[in-house]
Amino acid sequence: MATPLKNRHLAGWLLASPMAFVLLCFLVLPIVMIVVVSFWGATEFSIYPAFQFDNYEFLLTSPVTYSVFLNTFKYALVTWAFTLVIGFTVAYFLAFHVRSLTWQVALFLLCTIPFWTSNIIRMISWIPFLGRNGLANSTLISWGVIDEPLDWLLFSDFSVILAFVHLYTLFMVVPIFNTMMRIDKSLIEAAYDAGATGFQTLTNVIIPLTKPGIMIGSIFVVTLVMGDFITVRFMSGSQSANVGRLISNDIGLLQYPSAAATAVILLITVLIVIATLLRFVDIRKEL
């Protein structure tokens, strides 16, 4: 029959039309709007249509921009390193050391449940831990490790990174675990039979085969951290800045054109990072 084949494209688009419609209205148009507005001008109370490069000029000549972007990359890089090591270890344990499928599923779910709860609450919940009179400080003092409460535990880069790792390690565990579960166990047997040690098997067999999962996890973590503004604001006590905060500050001051220009630069940066990472993995094949 030739008809269904000819209609395949039409049927595909019909089925995909709701998704295309939503993405067009709430993703493509908003991005277009941001790009347009980034050339507009602003007074203290309102914004007006224009075509000027003032916003970009101000942004690209301000030293603040560069330090804030640098800070954003720093957060992304450090968080990525921690989530990767922790996420890989957890996934490795679940995939290769837990033996029954029931236990694997149960422990895996235990890891993912926090993902379905509120991020803001999960951030707030660090306060009683890290505060000046918090659990960490009082424990360390009672153990005699320190005499004075540590001030840098809360509202610092330390707490920002800690919160990022706490919130986003999950995004590493899930794709890495998924890839590991698809590794043919006989390959590992073969490595052992060929005389490889456990560590050699890890570095020569498991890690190369897990690369797609690592890439997908990295995409999630890097983009989430780079686009974040609330974690940095909340956990640093408004003392550190990243690009997201720059945007949200401008929004708070109703300086939408300036916020839009920053957003455009951020979007370009994120897309370049993602495009680089996507070169190493075919997402559709890996699911």
Partner: protein, 279 residues
């Protein structure tokens, strides 16, 4: 069974520490929300009471918590149903490998990786410049879909990658129409995964903050309300609220997981015994 290696115990210890790291803080505020009336935001406990929970139910000075909860719940259900329907349609569409599907796929990925605040800003700007009022059920709803739909679609990809096409062929061979094939063969088989998509749809919406920040309008959703509280509430009442909404999330997750479990059990019991007889 062979003996556990030393690596197992090291890794198991690491895993337990990880779980402690994940759940420790939330357990802490769970305990602290039972602070006595004089208690503060951290230990020691100043007596044990339900004072702060009562505070939450009575005092309206902390904001419109119940109204925002109702809105978040309604919005979560809206997003959930839309996500399931649109993702299934999208998943079926992508199986057809239609012309231009790559473009749509890259849009989906963009939707997943774009910083949330950009969606918030862009949608907010469109509404304000075209003179429309932002409202959680219109602009907020659409913005949240840009976050839940990619997850839904990726889950559908995972489902259809594992889907045995011979079921459909069998249905077609017996004269089923395309719609009958989907309705009576495909949908029942993928039903448990749809519960998973629904879980993502509801919880991601219920907890979403950044994408609704500039698109919810004058009526806040619950995360926005909580965010507002973090700047001006300095009593354990915020822990009480955190405990309640987390407990609610756990309840929702449990309901979804139990549904999947029950479905799988029912399927195992009622399934055909074809191929399991004497060979």
């Amino acid at each position: 069974m062979e003996k556990r290696s030393r690596a197992f115990y090291v890794l198991a210890a690491f895993f337990v520490l990880f779980l402690l790291f994940l759940y420790g803080p939330i357990i802490t505020i769970g305990i602290l929300s039972f602070q006595g009336p004089q208690g503060g935001l951290t230990f020691p406990m100043n007596g044990v009471s339900l004072y702060w929970f009562r505070d939450l139910f009575q005092e309206q000075a902390v904001g419109d918590i119940w109204g925002s909860f109702r809105r978040s719940f309604a919005l979560g259900l809206m997003v959930m149903v839309t996500t399931v329907v649109v993702s299934v349609m999208g998943g079926l569409a992508f199986r057809k490998r239609f012309a231009g599907s790559a473009v749509l796929f890259y849009l989906v990925i963009t939707s997943l990786v774009i910083p949330s605040i950009l969606v918030s800003l862009g949608v907010g700007l469109i509404f304000s410049q075209s003179g429309l009022d932002v409202h959680w059920a219109t602009s907020g709803f659409g913005s949240q879909l840009t976050w839940t739909l990619p997850f839904g679609l990726l889950i559908m990809f995972a489902v259809f990658n594992r889907f045995d096409k011979s079921y459909e062929e069998a249905a077609r061979d017996q004269g089923a129409s395309p719609w009958q094939t989907i309705r009576h063969v495909v949908l029942p088989i993928i039903a448990p995964s749809l519960i998973g998509v629904a879980l993502f749809g509801f919880t991601l919406s219920y907890d979403e903050f950044a994408r609704t920040l500039l698109t919810a309008g004058s009526y806040n959703t619950l995360p926005l309300e909580i965010y507002g509280m973090t700047t001006n509430v300095t009593t354990p009442v915020i822990f009480a609220l955190g405990t309640l909404t987390t407990a609610f999330s756990f309840l929702v997750i449990a309901v979804f997981l139990l549904t999947v479990w029950a479905m799988n059990r029912r399927r195992a019991r009622q399934g055909s015994d074809a191929g399991q007889g004497m060979v």
